[in-house]
Symmetry: C3
Subunit: 259 residues, 3 copies
Amino acid sequence: MAGGLGCVVVLSAMLLGTAGAEQRYLWTDEEGMPHFTKDAPGKSISYQMVTVPDGIDWRRRPAMSPEVPAERKLSSQELFKQVSGSVVWVESETKDWAAGKSTSYGSAVAISDDLALTNCHVLGSGQGTLRVGADKENSTEDVELAAADFDADRCVLHVKGLKLQPVRGIRLINNLDVGETVYAIGNPRGLRRTISQGLVSGVRDLADARFVQATAAISPGSSGGGLFDTRGNLVGITAFTLAESQQLNFAVPAEDFWK
Amino acid sequence: MAGGLGCVVVLSAMLLGTAGAEQRYLWTDEEGMPHFTKDAPGKSISYQMVTVPDGIDWRRRPAMSPEVPAERKLSSQELFKQVSGSVVWVESETKDWAAGKSTSYGSAVAISDDLALTNCHVLGSGQGTLRVGADKENSTEDVELAAADFDADRCVLHVKGLKLQPVRGIRLINNLDVGETVYAIGNPRGLRRTISQGLVSGVRDLADARFVQATAAISPGSSGGGLFDTRGNLVGITAFTLAESQQLNFAVPAEDFWK
Amino acid sequence: MAGGLGCVVVLSAMLLGTAGAEQRYLWTDEEGMPHFTKDAPGKSISYQMVTVPDGIDWRRRPAMSPEVPAERKLSSQELFKQVSGSVVWVESETKDWAAGKSTSYGSAVAISDDLALTNCHVLGSGQGTLRVGADKENSTEDVELAAADFDADRCVLHVKGLKLQPVRGIRLINNLDVGETVYAIGNPRGLRRTISQGLVSGVRDLADARFVQATAAISPGSSGGGLFDTRGNLVGITAFTLAESQQLNFAVPAEDFWK
């Protein structure tokens, strides 16, 4: 993959047959939620310029794996053994005239042997190199953006350089019970496949999108990681946390990536 | 209810036959604990002036619901279904000459069809409008202060405009086991009926009062919400958290509202 | 114990037959991890000078209690009853020319009736008084440093003035499952024997040492406390947490104190 994410983004936008690419401002509001806007945020807010293709589409739309049924509940150890292999490492290296080279870490979750869901804000400016893999050592740069809806922070990566381990099933949001146990697995602060446990607190409408709220601990670097139910179904992609709060954490519903 | 909480406080103070009302300083110490003091706090600490009636009393003292017995343990989903309806939304709008209108959110827990326990510091300055309900849309301004002990941060609301769903039982503090599982349900950051799980760490004497310490996550707006045991009994009213710490959270014992 | 920790450190260094004592800089990096270095940290970082004996050794090496087997799982209440008595209070009073007297609180875990494991950074500068006990009221100053490896933050206290309650067993790190439930018990913010629950996220190599990563909540003052598995085995000594994160917490493996 020559030229890094920037080229990939433009290329995939063309492959998708969309009208083209545009520049967006990526920034985080005071509550902690990321936004991609066409206009610059307020003066005191720092932002990043991002190259964004229009619309969302899949070059190769995978089937949505059916939900693993309720009776097949796993212990927290079994769950980690069975699903953590689907959570991959995402490293985005950005070259900047002023600040030099900066590397950010995030997560993604495999839904087939070559497609992985993540949050778009994990991918950085689109001006550097993107690496995906089990960890830093076992990773590939042969990655393209397969689909993207930046407004909803839903991005799909096509990982060609590695064979991924897909999740067991996708949980439908209408079946979700408030109070049920969930697990977050991601790479917070670069700590590979960190697992935490919590409860679902509901599905919330925030900024024109719906999110699963849960208390399972996440931290910077968990973005793009998986929120799983006790059967190992993927519930959502852990996206952000409210600032100055205790585990008011939010995930983009996995199901919504097939919208 | 014309005139908002300020009038109510004075009115209920008269109804209670107490000597009158006084002004107190409401502020939070560096650890995060709220205080209502007669003297101003130190220079660098921001505070709010609050109209406070003397003493604590009930205009209509409800029976204290007996504890649901130990064998009737609920799953976290069942618990949410059975008790979350007792946790109500409290919105306090304050008009201020300097700062204009500000709205703060909190929680309260119903113990009968028209009485709800909360923390006094949720009620704001007593100079604006108070709304109570299931959420912002389904709420009433027909609310009065039924009883108050500001020193202990225990306030009881008489909600006349709505029929409340009382909790199933009140847990006696002497029966509480350190290490047992508890759930917090409240409206942190305005997120209606958010549930979290944790363990009881003990009953602590702090600043001349006793509090239940537990690790169930709470955040600003959880104040006045409920801490429940695994049978759905109300253990306490979630009141504050220690600053710069991980879930060192404290609740006013529910039982102490009947002192 | 006349003269406090400073004298003890020198004395025990001599008793251990090591080459002597040296001065180290104790400071915390931007991630939150404590270090004892021979050179001063960067200009903007505050530090404490600490008297450090060379090497690690035991004056009286206790047997390592075998692991309690997997089938003897305890509830969180039973666990607290059985193991919390092994977690002791550590108070270190430091006299400083400039700042006057300052007291810091921490934790330690008994592994025999007179030896307790802790983190070296809990012990302070070695220039004041050290007290160990069930709490502030039931404590002794008759304490010596029995062994120390400051680079690995592993210190062992010989508590002569009190009879300690040893832990039931020591968990071997190779047997640890990612995703298994663990409990932290310590004295965060001086709150005696606070218990929290979480999951193991793995064993990590950080700064030339291995640590158990877990989500059980810890806070300042938890340092030196115990991380226990569901059978009551001591897994590790809770040492530090990553800054600006949700429960990315680390413990020194208990087993490594016998290295």
